[in-house]
Amino acid sequence: MDYTIKIGGQAGQGLQTIGAVLAKLFARSGFHVFTHQDYMSRIRGGHNFYQVRFADHEISASRKAVDILVALDKNTVAEHLGELSPFGLVVYDSETVREKYDGENLLDIPFRQIAMDAAGNRIMENTVAVGAVLGMLGMDLETLDELLAETFARKSREVVDQNLAAAKAGADFARANCGQCNFSVNIPGLAAAQEKGAAADVSAVAPRRMLMDGTSAVGLGALASGCRFYAAYPMTPSTGVMNFMAAQSGRHSLVVEQAEDEIAAINMAIGASYAGVRSMTGTAGGGFALMVEGLSLAGMTETPVVIFVGQRPAPATGFPTRTEQADLLYILHAAHGEFPRVIMAPGNPEQAYYLTGKAFDLAEKYQVPAFIISDQYLADTEWTLDALDPSKINYQDYRLRAGDLAKLADYRRHAYTDTGVSPLAEPGASHHLVVTDSDEHDQDGHLVEDAETRVRMVEKRLLKKLPLIRDQISPPLLHGDENPETVIVGWGSTYGVIKEAVDRLGEKHSIAMLHFSEIYPFPGTGKFDYLEVLRQAKLTVCVENNATSQFARLMRAETGFVFNKLVNKFDGRPYLLEELLDELGEPGMGGPGKTSPEKGGPGMGGPGKTSPEKGGPDKPGGFGRSPKHDGSGEHDV
């Protein structure tokens, strides 16, 4: 069982509400859920959609094929009718959409009228739509009731009842009128439980899973790591984290400041950290451009700071509300001078939570800036996942506080040590002065100009710390065949779609995914010789949501390894499952022979892109061929 529901319409029509309610409802009902959103950079109008997929097995990507299309406007029908699966249906209200469609797979349900009739209020029309979808799916409204009660907890029971009445009327109408409806949704475990005779209801049998988006996961990870200060300037797709933190600041010991600009934001984060609290800033690639100088300041003053960067298609303003993975090399090399940094690129909300924790831990332990790189796709996609465990985030206060400081006869902020890590004290907590400087400085933090101190400080700050940090980095994740003939490599938010593609293809082929989420310091091969896996493979493919295969280039710079196939997408949209399968063609067969690194010509990030072999594996759900949105061979910016 694996269904996709897509809700399309204009900004302001409330399609996010419908999508969010359905997603939560399916999750509560024990299904695995995956959602993704697509919206334009405008507040009203335009064309947006929200796609909800749910299944009785693990899923981690969106499919192209849609089973139920909820069309809130005419445009949605026009744009997405072609995506319907063989048994797929469109549901719409001809009054709102101002069009009456013929065709067996288009179901006209008068959402607005039903809302008026059942609840006396037009604004319940979206609730009617939710009910209609449940009716079409043949699900009952028990879980919806529960959800509505929670959602409107602060309002009167009357509001809940009105909503429920609206939903029920929608469901009834759908059940009565949907001759074509041919879905079979079985709540996992429910039938079995009921057979056992118990008066089992959904909430009793369904496995308890969280439904979480990437944004919340980063915020929760920060909270669980003791983040006390968050300064930022709003910018899509990072504003969500800022708002999440702001909402928490009422309940937790956390100050959230909206800075006058991104320059102020990072300097504030650094200032707060200097003062003794864990701190963080967040922005998009364009806002990060204004933080580059501050990054260097953190590097020089060895002030821990965590920086969240939500990538979006660029250059410049680009596509503000869409997705891309084109800021990796930029973030890795940003800022003048040489100093260590940590880069985490989580692939799903679970990783986002734990790796945010790890970013804080490494930042504090080694007194370096640590990044969490995300993108609009990861920010907005929701996944079902098992309970997150706060205790799995390593929380340790590495700073010297009043108690520790009282014992010290002497304190030097930038003292030379074996590890390069100097003691980090809270200013004002004792008579010891905490002095640091953006100029080259001595152990006391005071400015100097001599060559000898410079050399020792570079050694301390950079050369000693870096290998120690590298030791903390986990190797990439190998998923699938342990001795794969084909290896699909990705990083960050492509995790889910690659994983699911590999799972599909793994049914017939020797294939595995190698996913990098801890990117810098680049993982060594000591814990797991992933290079050996790549070298043994016949076909190695690097999949990226950018035009120039930045990770492949990094891989070559770090390890010398050159992929023999590069897959790129840079239209601002994420990979859908079918698209990726299509790009991969028949793995193990297609693709050119392996190009040895020696032969890679200069000026190329790797060999030119090979045209994907024709046709994907034939799976139910109907894998259409996606339009090619990939760049041609020569590209190596």
Binding site: S216, Q248, S253, N267, Y274, G294, P390, G428, H446
Partner: protein, 284 residues
């Protein structure tokens, strides 16, 4: 115990005769008079001659980037509102590169102090015009003389309703010491512009030039009258008013943020990872 000797830092690398030397001396005296010890103050400075200030005394110090003193200083205060925070900037630092932060800091009104060492020129980078450089002054970068109208920091601060706006002159150390103390003791954002000769690069606004023009505003001046303060602020030429030009008492930001208002500083509030278990629950 607070003693001058406690505040001795590196030997200043400023030019002999530089107004910064007087400012430094006055500051140390103010600290001692106020009975403050080095660890009770954090100085945040930028880059420029003024930015070197904290190295020539002893306090907690964050010597950051050119133009970025105020964001750092404000965040330190937010993280620890029991710490006194002094931001020290140059005129280029604060009104040029850092102009946007200056605007914001006045609105935010945290209880911190800002000294701007205003020599009306870029000293450290060898004499380019700063926002306060007089019209017509010729420099290596302004071969036809400065063609812009200078920025009037006092008028600007009054327009922004900064809660304490004062001007001092490095050559009048008695007044300056008093102004420094008032600024450090003012509740809210306290801004002190300190006119300071740059003997090397500013041959127009010399010690003598300032000496002849600066006069302390008398008791007839009411710093609580914003329009009067603005009128006074416009005086800059033949006569230059010094002293407290404007004052407006209002709540500071740290008194308004619920998490820290009337509570211990953020840096001292306890934390345990379990605190947020409740947040996780919401995602089921």
């Amino acid at each position: 115990m607070s003693e001058l000797e406690n505040f001795r830092g590196q030997n200043p690398a400023w030019c002999p005769g530089c107004g910064n030397l007087q400012i430094l001396r006055t500051f140390k005296m103010a600290m001692v008079e106020m009975g403050l010890e080095p660890h009770e103050l954090t100085i945040v400075s930028g880059i420029g001659q003024a930015g070197k200030f904290p190295h020539y005394t002893r306090c907690n110090t964050f010597n950051g980037l050119h133009g970025r003193t105020l964001p750092v200083a404000q965040a330190i205060r937010l993280a620890n509102h029991e710490m006194r925070v002094l931001a020290v900037a140059g005129d280029g630092d604060c009104y040029g590169e850092g102009g946007n932060h200056f605007l914001s800091a006045m609105r935010r009104n945290l209880n911190i102090t800002l000294f701007v060492h205003d020599n009306q020129v870029y000293g450290l980078t060898k004499g380019q015009a700063s926002p306060t450089t007089d019209e017509g002054m010729i420099t290596g970068t302004q071969p036809f003389g400065v063609l812009y109208e200078p920025l009037n920091p006092i008028a600007l601060a009054v327009a922004m309703d900064a809660s304490f706006v004062a001007r001092g002159f490095s050559g009048d150390q008695d007044q300056l010491r008093g102004l420094m103390q008032s600024a450090l003791e003012h509740k809210g954002f306290a801004f002190l512009d300190i006119l300071q000769p740059c003997v090397t690069y500013n041959k127009v606004n010399t010690f003598q030039w300032y000496r002849e023009r600066c006069y302390p505003v008398g008791p007839e001046h009411d710093p609580g009258d914003r329009v009067a303060a603005f009128r006074r602020a416009l005086e800059f030429g033949e006569r230059i008013p010094t002293g407290v030009i404007y004052r407006s008492e209002r709540q500071t930001l740290e008194e308004r943020i619920p998490v820290i208002a009337n509570r211990e500083p953020l840096v001292q509030q306890p934390f345990s990872p379990e605190d947020m278990a409740g947040e996780l629950q919401k995602f089921f």
